[in-house]
């Protein structure tokens, strides 16, 4: 088989399991072809090592993902690679344990083939805040890949790997997936273990899956989801069965909140929404138009909750036990302040300060407590919406991918690029961004599907309907829809 790197994960695993492809060849496929062309310019990876890949391949388990190379975002702990979170403060840090999702990936036969670039501690929407240099969008090297999981999204988009893991606190999987033209799933809160995911906003963080095909998202979800005794915030029931991702959308009601994109959403993205709705309807789903304004205060609420939790979560990075320690410190106070001042980048420092302020005596009620109340209200608004429909079709982002440097000087503008994604994190519900071809300027267009808790099976079926453009006949489930590969410019 030539061009192994173009295959989906399940095709690749099938090749390996039937002996047509060696594990080593499967793992190296993306490095031999597309990485040579793309990686030096895109910079999707923070770490990868042929020796580690070879030993990973040699030790690969049998399983549904046998031999499938996976890029893992650099905030997921791996024993065979450093885990830096894109930060100087963890430069060279090598965890003594694998994150639960990494362990399950390996158990399913996958091989971790590299660590994906990211905004420092997942704080950002463009991957420009990585301490180790930005990732660029394979569809246009002058544009950002989105963030914070920009590295994993770009790696999947240009063909380094068929599947990658990211993390999504306010859209950090779904927004870069949209910008890079791949699928990005943020599961229901409590479905993928957070054990070994370096925390940003603990009540919002969820490990997410990036892939080029719906089949691969489903297969990876099935391998990773389900209770973990090391994460007390997980749901205790078995994860929903997603094996019926190709069984169509007949009878499914999708919400159509057109008011959301009436004003400030890119025209070409609205066209993508209309096309997607047409595909869903052609496949037998019903459109349910309604007014929906999920979380008027979503962005404010999100930035209070996430930064408050982050200010506490990031306190452990102090130079005492691991990571960067400033060489010049006579006492423990200066060791703390100098290590943290030099180790954290400006965006991380900004958010730690915001969060510290929101939790401070005298401000707690006004900020953190109000945000918790707003969060409860937002959750109810979503519950309300899902009484009228099975899922909601809406934008993933307000714009097409923006240019590098366009928003780095304006944090608020950067924060607003998450306006359509943060609701799912606040409400704990699943969201999936689905690519719908390219714009006239050849940039990826995407839509987002949101469902109630544990609606992953319905989201995947709807995504499949969009992937096959509403075709329901003559398409065997092994049929892999054409993927919009990037062209270099």
């Amino acid at each position: 088989m030539s061009e192994l790197w173009k295959l989906s994960a399940i095709e690749l695993a099938h090749g390996v399991r039937t002996g047509k492809v060696t594990v080593a060849a499967a793992v190296e496929s993306g490095f031999e072809g597309p990485a040579r062309e793309w990686e030096s310019e895109v910079h999707a990876l923070l770490a990868s090592d042929p020796k580690a890949r070879a030993s990973g391949a040699a030790a690969a388990n049998d399983g549904p993902l046998r031999g499938v190379p996976v890029v893992v975002k650099d905030n997921l702990c791996t024993t065979d690679y450093p885990t830096t979170c894109g930060s100087r403060i963890l430069e060279g840090y090598r965890p003594p344990y694998d994150a639960t999702v990494v362990r399950r990936l390996r158990a399913a036969g996958a091989v971790v083939s590299g660590k994906g670039n990211m905004d420092e501690f997942a704080m950002g929407s463009s991957t420009e805040y990585s301490a180790f240099g930005p990732t660029r969008n394979p569809h246009d090297l002058g544009r950002v890949p989105g963030g914070s999981s920009g590295g994993p999204a770009a790696a999947v988009a240009y063909g380094l790997v068929p599947v990658a893991l990211g993390s999504d606190t306010g859209g950090s999987v779904r927004q870069p997936a949209a910008f890079c033209g791949v699928l990005g799933l943020k599961p229901t809160y409590g479905r993928l273990s957070r054990y070994g995911l370096v925390a940003f906003g603990s009540s919002l963080d969820q490990v997410g899956i990036l892939a080029r095909h719906v089949s691969d998202v489903a297969t990876t979800y099935a391998a990773l989801a389900g209770p973990d005794p090391f994460d007390a915030t997980m749901r205790l029931t078995p994860a929903p069965d997603v094996s019926h991702w190709d069984e169509g959308v007949k009878g499914l009601r999708f919400g159509w909140p057109a008011n959301l994109w009436a004003a400030s959403v890119d025209r070409e993205l609205v066209e993508g929404l209309e096309e997607s709705a047409a595909y869903l309807e052609r496949a037998g789903a019903t459109k349910v138009p309604f007014e929906f304004m999920p979380g008027e205060f979503g962005v404010a609420t999100y930035y209070l909750v996430a930064t408050a939790e982050a200010s506490s979560n990031l306190a452990r990075f102090d130079g005492v036990r691991y990571g960067f320690r400033h060489p010049d410190s006579d006492d423990v106070r200066t060791l703390y302040t100098r290590s943290r001042s030099a180790g954290f980048g400006p965006e991380v420092q900004r958010r730690i300060l915001l969060g510290t302020y929101a939790l401070s005596a005298g401000y707690y009620d006004a900020y953190y407590l109000s945000a918790q109340k707003a969060r409860t209200r937002i959750r109810r608004e979503y519950e309300e919406a899902f009484r009228r429909c099975d899922l909601v079709l809406m934008p993933a982002t307000p714009t097409l991918p923006f240019r590098l440097g366009e928003k780095t000087e304006d944090p608020l503008a950067m924060y607003l690029s998450d306006i359509f994604t943060i609701g799912a994190n606040l409400a704990g519900i699943p969201g999936l961004t689905v690519p719908v071809g390219l714009s006239r300027s050849r940039l990826p267009r995407a839509v987002q599907l949101l469902g109630p808790e544990d609606a992953e099976p319905a989201l995947l079926r709807a995504a499949r309907a969009i992937e096959v453009r509403g075709e329901t006949k003559h398409l065997p489930s092994e049929y892999e829809a054409e993927f919009s590969w990037p062209t270099k410019r």
């Binding site: 885990t83 070994g196 939790e309 506490s312 006579d330």
Partner: protein, 481 residues
């Protein structure tokens, strides 16, 4: 002006669970530094806490024993501050919604029953320990041992109900007895299982307003608690009497020098930025679980003490001695079966405890040698006059030394009672011959010397004589002679 002190205590109790509060590391004491650590209790990036059910159950048992209200839903919270021996730079604790609220501990002070009310009991994790043992060139080096990091702790906060330092000491003594009674902690203050901070303020006697308080830390023995608080009352009183003011502050007590030093003043008070711990779900205690825990609470020491007084007619003091330790109380209840309770109590508190203390034995070591059944048998023989008191005490020594049952020891010839006149009369006559002084005193009407003469005969008999028989024989011989 006369002042009175108002004192509240914050006690930390280290729980005796097998594993730590939020991970599976052993919670044991005394392992090599940093032997009992894992990603969770080291606060490594990505690690998450999972609450220890056994620690929650220990807290529930203590709370129910003290009559606390147990919250159906309580909340873990993060207390944020930077400290090198605290791996995450926050402590997981409970804040505005603790597991237990209210309740009171009954304490007997100078034969008076008091109850000291509590505000709350909550669960938290302990920190590691820092050491500053050496220098590197001209720089000081610190070392940190994280074995203790994450060990489960209870924090108990009392109402400001104490007025005098000895009340605080009595409270802690009673608390220590209770946690050992419930088998939730070893309660050893010297080993840090039980730690205490005190909030102290003073006010003019009779005033109802509270003065400015100071918090004293590092009170690590019961005597230290009493002395540290006394020193603070003296300090505050001197301040007020010289026209000064008490400033809100945290003080450290130095027991070696009986001195207090300011650790931080109010301006440097921490803002701990408490918020609910997002990594842990609400702690739900359903009614069934609570009732199951309530059923596991044994008869409590103060109830047992009262029962011993009422049921057995013991003096409160003796009932108090017997209820120092649940195992001792249990031992007594086995010994007392079928016997005069006062005699049984005396045999346990004086004879058994006296011998244990003299030999440095624990009750377990003692009862491995002298079982409750064996002691019961011994006392029963005394009561049925098959054995004399002195002989029984010798027999108890033999039982303890040899670890042999009462029945075996008492079968030996030297423990047979000699009660026949033909056997004892020669001894009586010999004593009369040997002690002419007391004999003539008796005969001249000073009959108190009879006791001395009885004792001499008993001695000659090796304790085997029955004292009543000896007395009668002596009286007869002394009158007749």
């Amino acid at each position: 002006m006369a002042y009175e002190a108002v004192i509240g205590l914050e006690c930390h109790i280290q729980l005796r669970t097998r594993t730590k509060m939020f991970c599976d590391c052993p919670a044991e004491f005394g392992a090599a530094p940093n032997a009992n650590v894992c990603p969770v209790c080291l606060g490594l990036p990505g690690a998450l806490p999972v609450a220890n059910r056994a620690a929650i159950e220990s807290t529930l048992r203590l709370g129910l024993a003290l009559g606390c209200e147990v919250r159906a839903e309580s909340v873990f919270a993060r207390k944020n501050y930077f400290y090198p021996d605290m791996p995450k730079n926050y402590q997981i604790t409970q804040y505005d919604q603790p597991l237990c609220e209210g309740g009171a501990l009954p304490v007997r002070i100078d034969e008076v029953e008091r109850t000291f009310e509590l505000i709350r009991i909550h669960i938290e994790e302990d920190t590691g320990k820092s050491f500053h043992p050496e220098k590197y060139g001209d720089r000081r080096i610190s070392r940190i041992d994280f074995n203790r990091a994450g060990v489960p702790l209870l924090e108990m906060v009392t109402q400001p109900v104490f007025r005098r330092p000895p009340e605080c000491a009595a409270f802690l003594t009673a608390l220590r007895r209770l946690v050992r009674w419930l088998e939730i902690s070893d309660g050893d203050m010297e080993k840090g299982h039980l730690r205490c901070d005190a909030n102290v303020s003073i006010r003019p006697a009779g005033s109802r307003e509270l003065g400015t308080k100071a918090e004293i830390k590092n009170l690590n023995s019961i005597k230290g608690v009493e002395k540290g608080i006394s020193a603070e009352i003296v300090r505050q009183t001197a301040l007020l009497e010289s026209g000064g003011r008490v400033e809100q502050a945290t003080l450290l007590y130095d027991a070696d020098h009986d001195k207090l030093a300011v650790m931080r003043s109010k301006e440097h008070a921490h803002d701990y930025r408490y918020f609910p711990e997002p990594d842990l779900p609400l702690l739900r205690v359903e009614a069934a679980w609570k009732e199951q825990m309530r059923a596991q609470v044994p008869e409590l020491p103060w109830a047992l003490e009262a029962r011993f007084v009422e049921k057995y007619g013991l003096k409160p003091y003796d009932a108090g001695v017997l209820s120092q330790d649940r195992a001792l109380a249990g031992y007594f209840e086995q010994v007392v079966a079928g016997l005069n309770p006062k005699a049984a109590s005396n045999w346990v508190t004086t004879e058994a405890l006296g011998r244990m203390n003299a030999r440095g034995w624990s009750l377990a070591e003692w009862s491995a040698r002298v079982s409750a059944a064996s002691l019961n048998e011994l006392v029963r023989r005394v009561e049925s006059k098959e054995l004399t008191g002195p002989l029984a005490k010798q027999a108890l020594d033999a039982m303890a030394e040899e670890g042999v049952d009462a029945q075996v020891v008492l079968a030996r010839p030297e423990y047979q009672v000699r009660g026949g006149a033909d056997e004892l009369l020669p001894l009586v006559k010999a004593v009369i011959d040997e002690h002419p002084g007391p004999v003539s005193q008796y005969r001249s009407g000073k009959t108190v010397t009879l006791g001395f003469l009885v004792g001499q005969v008993m001695k000659k008999s090796g304790g085997q004589a029955v004292p009543q028989v000896v007395k009668e024989l002596l009286e007869r011989e002394l009158v007749g002679g």
